[in-house]
Subunit: 406 residues, 2 copies
């Protein structure tokens, strides 16, 4: 910051859709992403859905010269898919895995296996401490009947809480990632309201890219066209958000997105568009305070709305906990009944053998199978209830605190 009082920071954010064996033309696209990043020389690169550690290692080798510092966040069965490349030294990292992330038995959706998380890297540039967060929230598979909304809201809440608690010594906070929420969704409003983060798209002096800043667009050859039918322009679910905490100001000079293909190529980087922001960071005498009273009034509404949705999820989770518990008890009763019948036959209460052996054994195995499965699900939904309750309770506390403020 000495000499020139303004620091320019160029950030690249992309959901890479790099699932081994499943994503189309993955290796070609990862190479293309690497080539572009090497050529463009951003300051900071935030990637999601880099599921294969081999892809990360290849990128690391290719980008080693321009981006000597990088970090890959490991979590879940497959990994978090999150990684960061940086021109500046990474001082420290931390990973926070969201407590709720879909259901293990929804194999076709697979989110549960990814261990969705938020990764934090701390970077110091010209004496300014940047807390950089990268994340990927649970996907929305059906907007009309979104069964995952409570889980995504819990994630948005935990993301906001994690940022608030870990960024207190930071000068500037940056968040990039695929939030799987439209700009007006309650989760985004909750995240922005509770952290004070600003949306680079909304704040940008210049914008260039897809209309409305969309990042999932019909003219990207990898998007599923039927899913985008209700949104002819596409949807915006990938974000770069930022705020200054201490005596700095951050301005978004320019925001760009790719527009269905990688620049100068005929294939896209991914099924998502990349988001590229140029931020200007300047030291100033005093941190710019938001107009608290109106902001907090809105925040009360948003937290109330989010809490209602979490409550809906809580009731559903309780129902599932109850029905899986009942199923387990029924299977146990059936097994006990069978055991009694066997005992009866052994002590000679029955004259003949009343059941054919085969169906009797099959029934027993079926009962054992159902018992194990139902017990597992019951435990899972018990955890789900606990986490939803915990979030609702935290939101209640926050609402109370907001209302009590003078």
């Amino acid at each position: 910051m000495e000499g020139d009082p303004t620091l320019q920071l160029r950030i690249f954010d992309l959901n890479c859709w790099a699932i081994r064996y499943l994503s189309k033309r993955r290796q070609e696209r990862v190479r293309l992403i690497g080539d572009t990043l090497r050529r463009e020389e951003f300051d900071l690169v935030l990637l999601q859905e880099v599921w294969s550690e081999q892809d990360y290692s290849d990128l690391k080798v290719k980008l080693g010269r321009c981006y000597p510092f990088s970090h890959y966040f490991r979590s879940g069965v497959i990994g978090s898919g999150l990684c960061v490349f940086s021109r500046f030294p990474i001082l420290d990292t931390l990973l926070y895995q969201y407590s709720l992330n879909g259901y293990p038995y929804m194999l076709q959706h697979g989110d549960w296996f990814c261990g969705k998380s938020v990764g934090l890297v701390i970077i110091k540039i010209s004496g300014i401490i940047f807390n950089v967060y990268v994340t990927h929230l649970h996907a929305e598979y059906c907007r009309e009947k979104d069964a995952y909304l409570p889980h995504r809201l819990v994630q948005a809440w935990e993301l906001a809480q994690f940022i608030r608690h870990t960024s207190k010594a930071a000068d500037v906070v940056l968040l990039g990632g695929d939030l799987n929420m439209h700009p007006e969704d309650v989760g985004i409003r909750l995240l922005r309201g509770w952290t004070g983060l600003r949306d680079a798209f909304a704040e940008a002096t210049r914008f260039e890219g897809c209309e409305d800043g969309c990042t999932l667009v019909p003219n990207n050859c990898f998007t599923v066209k039927t899913e985008l039918l209700p949104f002819p322009l596409g949807i915006r679910i990938d974000y770069i958000l930022y705020k200054a905490i201490s005596s700095f100001t951050v301005k978004c000079e320019e925001l760009k997105t790719t527009t269905g293909t990688a620049p100068g190529k005929d294939i896209p980087f991914s099924d998502h568009e990349a988001v590229m922001a140029t931020l200007l960071i300047q030291r100033q005498g005093q941190a710019a305070g938001a107009t608290h009273s109106t902001a907090e009034l809105t925040l009360v509404d948003v937290v109330t709305e989010a809490r209602l949705e979490v409550g809906v999820g809580l009731r559903a989770a309780r129902r599932q906990r109850y029905s899986t518990g009942r199923m387990a008890v029924l299977a146990l009763l059936l097994l006990l009944l069978q055991a009694l019948a066997v005992l009866g036959a052994l002590v000679g209460l029955d004259a003949g053998q009343p059941f054919p052996k085969l169906s009797f054994s099959l029934l027993a195995f079926l009962a054992i199978g159902i018992l194990l499965l139902a017990t597992g699900l019951h435990l899972f939904h018990t955890m789900e209830v606990k986490m939803l309750q915990g979030t609702e309770e935290q939101m209640r506390m926050v609402l109370q605190a907001l209302r009590e403020r003078p």
Copy 2:
């Protein structure tokens, strides 16, 4: 802090051993704990193993007058068991669940089901910000062959990282809980070295209680005497740790433990002894800096030692991932073989029926059972490998940074 420059803070920490249906004389002991807390009027109460929310609610009702602020941390199937009662307002809370916490199939140990976590509550007293952490790490069931050591080390590391990242705006950091580690264990040295926390027992001006500050002692009627045979005095695994971050100093004026029974009663509070500290907090011109060079030299050794142990765990987890994967493949092969045999019989390749139906079906069910179980375990150990790798990588980064410092 105005007028009187010294703040006195009295803290109570106890692992309550309040497991419904399992812990002996639970209700009587919880009542006794509540009565004592009400009479003694501590400033801050940190409890672990309050597994039943009903017990927490009863305590909350009983303590409402002396400790108007409280928080119960929910996680896992059973809950985290962690709660805090405070005379001063709780401004904010956050829960971090450890990424590794034993094995779900070790039902007799049960730690996995508790969702072991660290809870943070932020409290402001006389203008001083206190970050108060309460936690309970994985138990040690066999000191000679401690299969859980790598998991407990990952927890100690995550605890240290969580404290470092969330306490940057705090004036004073307090940590209380059952760490399940002896004072000289590598996990404690790692935690203390990496956070700079000081041990109230070692620093106390006055001490009163069990010899060596032990908190699991043979003359407590609920402890398992055979487990304590190698330690005639008992062991010290419950701690109150503290440090001042900004321009404050903290001194431990007095530390007390109970001595096998609750004061003036013939039964103990729990199978653990309670730890009670009186801290003096004073504002000063400048934060007291540690002698960095020697501290960092020791830290390098401790992190290296911890990383070796994590590496041992990583190799064990990889072996288990491999053997469960092989088991799943074998079960799948057996099923395929059976399917082929059935197909063969259907298209009439076999003249007669070579297998008795019953054992054939039983074998199929057995194979399905093994396939499901082995797949589940394989996924679990894959996650375990990821988290151990992640921790090892983080430790490697820290070691590098420590060595590169001038």
